[in-house]
Every structure is written in structure tokens, then in C-alpha cells.
Symmetry: C2
Amino acid sequence: MKRILTYFSLIALVLLVACQQEKPATNNSGFPKLILQKSAVPMMIDGLAKYPLLKTSFEDAKVIADKGIENGIIVPFPKDPGGGYTHEKHKQNYIEMYNAGLIYQLTNDEKYAAFVRDMLNEYAKLYPTLSLHPLQKNQAPGKLFWQGLNESMWLVYTIQAYDCIFEYLSAEERANIEDNLFKKVVEFFTVEDKYSFDRVHNHGTWACAGVGMTGIVLGDSLMIKEALYSTKLDGSGGFLAQIDELFSPDGYYAEGPYYQRFAMLPFIVFAQAIENNMPEMKIFEYKNGVLLKAVTSLLQLTNSDGKFYPINDVIKEKSWLTPELVFGTNIVYAQTEDASLLDVVEEKGQVMLSAQGLAVAKAIAEGKTKSFVRKSIIIRDGSNGKDGGLALLRLGEPENQTSLLFKFSSQGMGHGHFDRLGINLFDKGNEILPDYGAARFLNVEAKEGGRYLSENKTWANQTIAHNTLVIDEQSDFNGILKASEESSPKLVFADLESPQIQVVSATDEKCYKGASLNRTLALLQLDGSTYVIDLFNVKNTNTGQYDLPIYFNGQIINTNFDYTRLNQYKVLGKDNGYQHLIVDAKAKDLPSTTSLTWMNGNGFYTASTLSAFNTEFFIIRLGANDPNYNLRKQMGMLYRFPKSSNKKLLTVYEMHGFYNSVTEAVSQSEGSVKTLKITEGNAEQVCIQITLKNNKTINLLYDLKFANSNHNEILVNGELLNWEGNYKLFIKEI
Amino acid sequence: MKRILTYFSLIALVLLVACQQEKPATNNSGFPKLILQKSAVPMMIDGLAKYPLLKTSFEDAKVIADKGIENGIIVPFPKDPGGGYTHEKHKQNYIEMYNAGLIYQLTNDEKYAAFVRDMLNEYAKLYPTLSLHPLQKNQAPGKLFWQGLNESMWLVYTIQAYDCIFEYLSAEERANIEDNLFKKVVEFFTVEDKYSFDRVHNHGTWACAGVGMTGIVLGDSLMIKEALYSTKLDGSGGFLAQIDELFSPDGYYAEGPYYQRFAMLPFIVFAQAIENNMPEMKIFEYKNGVLLKAVTSLLQLTNSDGKFYPINDVIKEKSWLTPELVFGTNIVYAQTEDASLLDVVEEKGQVMLSAQGLAVAKAIAEGKTKSFVRKSIIIRDGSNGKDGGLALLRLGEPENQTSLLFKFSSQGMGHGHFDRLGINLFDKGNEILPDYGAARFLNVEAKEGGRYLSENKTWANQTIAHNTLVIDEQSDFNGILKASEESSPKLVFADLESPQIQVVSATDEKCYKGASLNRTLALLQLDGSTYVIDLFNVKNTNTGQYDLPIYFNGQIINTNFDYTRLNQYKVLGKDNGYQHLIVDAKAKDLPSTTSLTWMNGNGFYTASTLSAFNTEFFIIRLGANDPNYNLRKQMGMLYRFPKSSNKKLLTVYEMHGFYNSVTEAVSQSEGSVKTLKITEGNAEQVCIQITLKNNKTINLLYDLKFANSNHNEILVNGELLNWEGNYKLFIKEI
């Protein structure tokens, strides 16, 4: 992405210059001033007695601070990698200082201030003696830590601790700590590691937040300007450029929700510090309030169990209970008073120790909480909103909601997967058509030190690892990151407003050379079942073999065709992820509508695919070329359509029935689909007919040009059907 | 088991005869009299306004009754099997009549009584015309249903409905319903299907309960006597013989917890009817109060998530929220006032509509609930308590409790598995060393009509499907039920009282010809890890190959030895369950202590086994010879010890570490065991030494004669160790 001085950041720069003084303008006097402000402290102390959530959060912080004091001051010389002693100790130190600073403010007990002071003095002795960390793992090492990223995190927390004890310190003590510690750390970022600092990337955000907040506390306007506009001061990097470029207008962060929740912390915390000290910047209104939208969009990017949707590199257990979102929800609530955020905070059971946390705890105590509702929405990607996006189609009661995630976003940088037009399906809290997520056992030492495993590249990133089309056993863009970053799919059409049916369509023109891939998805309910109607419309100037993998979790219940389990060991392919798949069963001579039903949790699921006699069917499972069991178990089915040029692929996923594990009663364990049929019109109109076993027919008419024409027609079984607009649904009862 | 007139049932017979009249003695007058009694109705109505749980239970019942009235009276001619229309309709009818009867009593609204009356009149027309059900599936068909068992269930509920509307009916109406329906149904059981009725088996219990309760309502003492003492009236069968023979003195039911919860209903409900109408029998004191113990033992046979331990044929999802336990917990609470039962009721959220349910709802409303505590206990099996049993060893906080189940019970009739001396391990709510349970998808039509699958016999029943020793690839007793029923393992020693370590030992002398198998298990905690020390002591007059399978759920993290994943398809064996196992990886040339670590949920688990250079190691997975994916995925490891006669096998299971999915912090992902060693003494003493990576040593001394000798000694590393009693533990810090 280009790093430019955008319209928005120009305005902000002008504003800042206009009101610039030797010290930045503040609307509060005295310290602390960053997040917890001096003026809020008396109200906070008052609130501790009134608001249970504030009280428990205070107590949790006090436990951490007390434990720090009990453990004493240990500031080891940096030596170890992530997970090792010195790494973990420096992490622990900043968390303990941060909490001790807050507890000092809220108790006025000087032992907490003294603890932070003594620790900072030790750091002020150590830091100037340091060169780069002995394990310079990558291009961006720190001094205390093997990664500069950790050093930024250290600064974001530690400067808040210093802010809390600022007034406790003598002028000499401050001078020592500022000159020998904070200014040196800032110098590291803005001079030695300028590349990372100026980079528009979440590592840059952490560094800018740390330096900018240090500038506010130290009253150093150059630091603030560098944090906001890059070391060149021209807006080519820095916090505002990061907001401009890393978030779409809908608040989507290109790397996906897992990294978004990590990056949200410095964005939202630094923004609050700016709001508190430079309110004239109106940072929360910046780019139409994108930072606020980023938090609510991130919350929308969760399944009904609170887990983040597992797109791109993601550790699948991660949910909105993540500590970073304490800051996000609290700060956004203080701005918007959106009562549905309180729902998330209540589940987490923790608030910030600041005016924002106070407001949240008060509102919760006053019973203002509203349910957080997961809606059907389109979330645009790209800094201008034009790099595709995500569609979330949702139906049903909150706890058992069905949600279909359709990904037509940009690549998402290095943590993106080659999964153009991929889908994920969730139902009753479970992942029904799963995404593998990342091949990584985070922080599990025995699995390559807890880092990304090599299988992340050879399997998890590859197209075949996702619920989307694969042409000629190749990944999108041949798996080349640079190529994939040059274009994005486009949203072609969406209508999520109809109570009867939700439709979304997107196209990618570039991911396979010479081919245009369009995928149109519809979600509807009928007679107790929920259906996803999934149509791929491929136009290919070449001929290609089309593989459609459908991964599923659960137990196979039955099929409407014969298959054979293999009693030989057969790997599906040689490369691009295929080398990790074992063929467990196969079938040929398929019926024209091929159905497989499986059971997952309390639900039954059937995938029905429009097949042909020469379509091949495989049941596949993960595990080949995986000598160390680095890959999790995963099953799927794969339809292989033999070489053709243009091709329409139709699959219907049905969610039906219920297994009541308390009473052991079972309803509707059989899928309802009898046959699928596509009829094609003269001008790219199609009619999808789903005939059910009860002889009802679901008819779905599309104008695949999506031209919003007011006259479409198609001849179906001798009957001329007319409609206006891009689609029409009608149910025929025979 | 022999069917004899036992001491207890003799006393009861004498008692009954002593106070026998034309009508049985009752301490209440009027109807209803069975469970909900006329005298309780005013208190119940009063309680509805006061006790929320009574109110919601009433409302739930009313919904069912109202729906029944709305649907109208349909009593179809029997035709279909389980799951089919007529089967489900007759089930629905008795549930609706039962609830309508109760609601009539509690509302005095005659429409409910009329509904029951009209339905019973229809049955009175239909029943006399019926011969055996057209689908005579098995040796014991019914008339309304394909199984007599369902017919008994119909009677147990329907007679209660009749009891509730008895006073509403005219004498003519009663005569018609009694003569043409109830007497005919009773005749079916006591004459036509006498074999099932007199059989000491849960099917017999249902029939006796139905007939006995009918006798009480109709004032027919012959029916009551037949229900209590069999149709021969000699106590060779009937309810008392069933209590005598089917329950151990600790209230264990030989088929295991899954069938126990099913069988509990007729036992406990008929007992309450007896208590209400023949209190002089003191039925709840019968056999030292075994019916009361049966309920509390059944509750103990659950994991921390409430699921029944999955031994024998069991559907693994089943938990103590099962509807049958509403009766069990309520009736036992009314007898014992054991406040921990209220905990279970609260979780279920439902009470009986009777004086018992009233007492429970009142106690809960008054805040009397105490936590249900899962304890370390021995539960004896066998009518006299001498057929082995189960040991439950437990440690830790209730929600994350570690529990080890050791099964040394009798075979458990037709639903028993050939799993002598098997173990199951649970931790943090998850099943760590799993039992497969039954191969059955209950009520899922597509899986062989929801019945037991053929794989239940070929896999789930077999010894290799369990965490226990297999000699020469044969199942216990060569898989012959009759042979297995002739003997049981014996408890040799148990000490569950020490806070430091819990020890249990049991022996089976018969399951493999010529061999004696002893297994001794110890559960202890040290430095944040929990260990299970598992010693098999095999004495074999022949030589045998010893296979020790260890099934595990989760992801392999690492091993301390090299293995090779197979790139060929290899089935482990030919028969006895081996034909279903695929060899996924193998290793040879093992180190003397062989460790494999896996991750499950938030925990890490390591199994370390004392191996030898010629021990073979396999990673196995389920799925061979399973053409229809009837078997679930299951992984395991298998140690194969080459042919020998006497053999000691030592494995240590360690539960360690924690993966915090909220913060992504990981602790102790590596197991602590460095080496295992066994030293043998002169007189069957052994010293187990577990040397940890931190150089501490866990020393566990056993006298394997378990003679409770006050002098044991053994020479270990040149040091003579002495101890009293069967075992001694000491931790050595070096």
C-alpha cells in the first residue's frame, strides 16, 4: 500500500500546528494524564464502593501489583528468546509496573509508587548499556526483547506506569528516568529502528503509540509529531497514516480479526491518550469515526460463541474475551454509549481502571446492558473500501444462530490465506464448514518454539485448505503473495434486507489466470430447515479441472450414492497443500444430485451437489506428509469436475433436525433435498431448482450479470418466467 | 444370576401377608393415591404461588397437556417400528395423558380429565382387539408397541393418569376402562408375556412397576403380589427379587450407569407408590436402603460435566440432566433431605408434580441447596457386593476435577463390555483416556434404524477397544458372554483416605486362561502435576504377547523417541476388534522410558511407559473395515510387549500445564517424567521409581501380595527400604 499524506491526516496536521505550543494543549492539569486522568481519580475511588465490576477489576489489578512487590525488583540482562526467562521477566515487569501505577493512584499507598520508581531506576541503569538483543531473530530486533514489537509493548504499558507516579517523583528522579530510559527507548524507535517505526503495519502502530504517549507525558512535541506523522513528519507513516491505510471505512483491518484484536490495543489506547490531551484533534471522529467502527466490526466478526471467525492466520480458540478488547469496548462505550458493548464487558467481567471503565461499570450496575446482536452485514475492505470485503449472513436465535461468512477481501498481507471467495459456515455454536486457521501451537515450546509451523505455508495458506474452488490443483496466484496483493475480488451484489432470503455475490478476475470466478450465495429458511444455496459461475478462457473441497466436522451419517473406502494409502496430490491430503474413500458414476449427511453436536447437515456421471468424489482427510503430527485431524469431501472451460457449480448446504442429548429424541435426521437443477437462459439468467422430498420446489432466479435489469426472463420447463432485478425466489408447492 | 427367595424378600413377604386385606392397607384415602396423592393437592396448589421451580414444572406440564388437547384423540392401530408413526403416537399419548392427569388435579379444570377419559375409552376399544404387534422384532413384542418394554412404559405412565381422574369417572366408566384396558394389559404381562415379567432384568422391572401400580389403583392384591413376587408368587422374580439381585449393596446396577439411569425410573416410582400405599413395607429401607443408595451412586458415576461415565454400552452425551433423574432425585430427597441432591435438581430446572417435588422446590426456594461433591469411592458390584466393583479416584477443584475410573466389576449382562480392569481418565471436564462407549447412533434412522450397530459387537465390546491389557490379541473370555458372567475380578486393596495418595488394586484370575492379572493404580499430586501410576502385574502359566492400548483425545505434541508415520495402509490385526484399527505410525528400538505428550482442551498430558528395546510402539486409529463410517474417529497408542510369561507393565499418566485460551499463555507444556524404573524384592515387594526432570524422585513401594504385612523390605540401589502395610510413598529430593 502507498504511504501518502492523506486528506484526513493533512487536516489533522494543520490543526495540530495551529494549536501547537511548547507543551501540547491539554484539558486536564497534572498527572496522570494519559488514560487514567488525575481529575477522574476521586470519582473512581467513589465508584469502587458502588460498582461491582470496577471493584473486582481493581482487586484483580491489586493482586498483580502486590505480587510484583512481593517478588521484588529484578531487571535481568536480556538474553532469552520468547518464552525464555529474561523475555518473560521483562513482560511481567511492565504488567506489574502498569498495575502498580494504577493501584497507587487509587489507594494513594506509596509502596506501589516506590515499586514502580525502583523498577524504572533499574531500567534507567540497564537500558543505556544495551545494544541489540543477542538473539536478533529477525529484521526488527529490540534491546530488551528479541523482537522490537515486544519493546513497543513494554513502552506502551511502562509509560502509563510512569505517568501514574510522575507527581510522586522528585525532579531529579524524573530527569534520570526520562533521560536515561524513556528518551533512549524513543531514540531506539525513531532513530535506530526507524524502518519499523515508519512502517504502515501493526508493529509500527505499537511503536507510534509508545512514542506518542511518551511524548505526551514528557511534554515533547517532536515525539508526538513523529508518532503521528512518521519520523519524516510528512504523514507518509505514523499513527494517522496507519489509521488511513490499515482500516477500511467499515473498520476492517486487512489482516483479519485475529490480528485486528491484537492491533486494536495501541490504536484505541493511543487514541484515548490523544483525546485526553489533544481533544482538538477529534481523533475519534477521524476518518468518519473509523476507530470506533473498528471495534464494533471486530465484535461482529465473531461466531455466536464469541470466537473470532477463523480466517487467515488465526489461533482458533481466541474469543472476544481477549484482554485487548477490555480497552476497545470500554473506550468505545465512553464515546458512543452503545449499550450492547456492555454485554461483551459483562461476559468478560473486567473494566479499565479509568474514567472509561468507570462509565462502563456504572452503566452495567444501572442495568443499562443491551444484548449484543450479530447482524447480517457487509464489511468493506481496503483503505477506500474498494478492496472487496466480507459478507456475514445470519439467521436465527442469537445462541443458535446460523452464520455464513463469505470472504472476498484483499489478501491481508503476510498473514493472509489464498482463499479467494471462500466460505465458512457456523450453526448452533459450532463450525460446520470449517476453516483450518493457522498451523501453529502458539507458545507450545515443543512445536517449533510455538512459532508458525512449516505446515502453515505448505497447508494452511493454500487454496485447497479452504472451502473454495481450486483450478488445476494450483493455489490462487500460484501462492505468490506479491501477486495476490495487487488485486482484490469485487462485491457484485448484496441484498441482506429481505426477511425471506439473503443474497450476496462477488467476483474475482485475477486469482486464476484467464479465469473469472463468481460466487453467489443465498441463505434462506423453509419448514424448519436452513439452506445455503451456493453457485460458482466460472468463465475460463482455458479449460481447467475444478476441485471443490467441502470440509466438515462431525460424523458421516449417510449418502445417497455408493462409495468405497480405500484400503490403500493414497495421497491426493503432490503440491500446493494436496500433498497433505489422504484419499479415504472415493466414488464414481455419481447420481446427478449427490448428497452427504453428517452430524455435528446437536444438528444434522447435508451437502447436496449437482454432479455428473464423470464427476469424481473423494472423502479426504488431513495427515499426509506430516511426520510430526503437526496437523490437526480434518475431514472433508472433494468434488472433482473434469476439464472444462465455463462451468457452473451448484451446492446446497442444509441445516436440519435436532438431536436432543437430554431426552435422546431425534428429529429430521434426513436432508430434504431430492434433486438440484440449473436451467440457463439466453442472457446469463439462471434458474436454480431445488426439489424437496416433499415435492415442494425452491426456485431461485438470478441475473448473473447482476445488472439490476428491470426485465429478466428465462424459459424453464416450457414456462417463461419474468422478474425484475438481480434475483427472485419463489417456492412452488405441488 | 440365580433367582432366589432372599432373606430380605422373605421378610417383606411375611410382612405383606401379615397385614394383607382384600384391599391393600393405605394411609391415604381417595384418589389419586399412587405418586401425587389427594392429600398433597391443596399444598401443591399453595406451593405453585411460592416456589418458582414448582411453578415452571407445572407450566411445562400444562404446555404438554394443552398441546395434547389441541391435537385431539388419535389412537392408531399399531403398525410401525420404533421411530415410526404409530409407535411415536402411542408414546406421545401416554405422556400427554400423564401430564393432563396431573394438570387436572392441580387446576380442577375438567377438560383435562375429559381428555384422559376419552383417550382411555379409545384404548379400551382398541386393546381387546389386538394380538401381538405385527413387527415382532424380538422375543418380547408388545401389542401397542413392537417391544413389550414400551408397553410397560405406557402402563407406568397411563395408570398414573387414570389414578388422577379416577374420582372424575362414573362407576360404569371405570368398569369399562378397567375391564377392557388395564386388566387386559396386565393379563398380557402376567400371562402372555410371563417370561419377561418374571425375568430379573430391567424389562421385568418396568413390567412389574406397571402391573403393581395398576394393582394399587384397581385395589387388586393379586396384581400387587405378582408384581412384588413374580407370577409364581414365590419371590423367584418380581420387584423385590429385582432389587435384591440387580443392585449391589452400594446401589450399583450391573449394566452400568447408562442403563441404571433408565432402570431407576420404575424402581423409584413403584417404590414411592408402595411407600404411599403400603408404608408398612418400608420399601425405602429394604436391603439397607439400597434404592436410595442407587440414586446417589448413579450421581457419583458422572464426570464433572454431569455426563455418565461411558462404561459398557452407553451413548456418551447422556448426562444427569436425563428426565429419569427428576424422579430419582426428588423421591430420594423427600426420604433423606440430602441437600446436595438439590444442586442436581437446580441444574435440571424441573421437579415432580407431587409432594416430593413440592418438598424439593420449597427447599431450593429456601436456599438449602448444597454443592454436590464427587468423592473418591469404591462402589461394589454384585447382589452381595462380592462381584468386584468400580473405584473412583478423584482430586482437585470440582469443576476441573481429575477423576480416574477403574472398572473391576462383573460383566454387566448383555450390555457389558469385555474390559476387565479397564480405566478411564477425565480432567478439566474432558475425557483424557476415553472409553469408546457404544457403537450406536440412537434414534438416527439412517444408522441401522438407530439400533446397536454391528460394530458394537465387532469393536466396542472387544477388549482392545478399552484401556486395558490384551493377551495374544484375544478378548477377555474370548468374547463369550456366558463365560464372562461366571466370575468377576476382586478388589484386593484400596486406600482412598490419604490426602497424599489414593491407591486401589484389583485382580482378575479368569479372563485369560492360565493367567492372573493384577492392576494397581495410584493417584497423587506433586508440584502442580497430577500423576496416575499404573502397574499391571501379570502372572501367566503360558507365554503371551501383551498389548497395552492407551486411547487419547487431542493432538500429539511430542515424544521422547523417534517414530515413523506409515505411508502404507496397514490394519493392526484380523479379529477381536483389531480388524478395525489402522497402524498410523510405528517405532522400534525404544528408550527404556518412552513418553508421548498430547494436548486436550486447556491441558497437557503425558503417558510414560517402561519399555524395552524389543517393545513395539504403534500409533493407531480407528476406521478399518468400516465401510459406512459407522465408527467415530479415535486415536490411541499401543505398546506391544513380546512374548513372555510373568510381566510387570508400568505406565505413568501425567496431567500438567495449562493453555489459557484467553491470554494465550502456556505453562508446563512439557511432561516432568525423566525415567521410570521398577525394582523387585524377594517376596513380591516392588519399588517404583519415577525420576523427574528436576531430579526429584517419586518412590512408591508396594507389597504386591497385599497381605497388609507389618514388615516389608526391598533392596533398592543398595539401600534396604522397610515399610509397614501394603504401600508406602516417599518423595526424594536430590
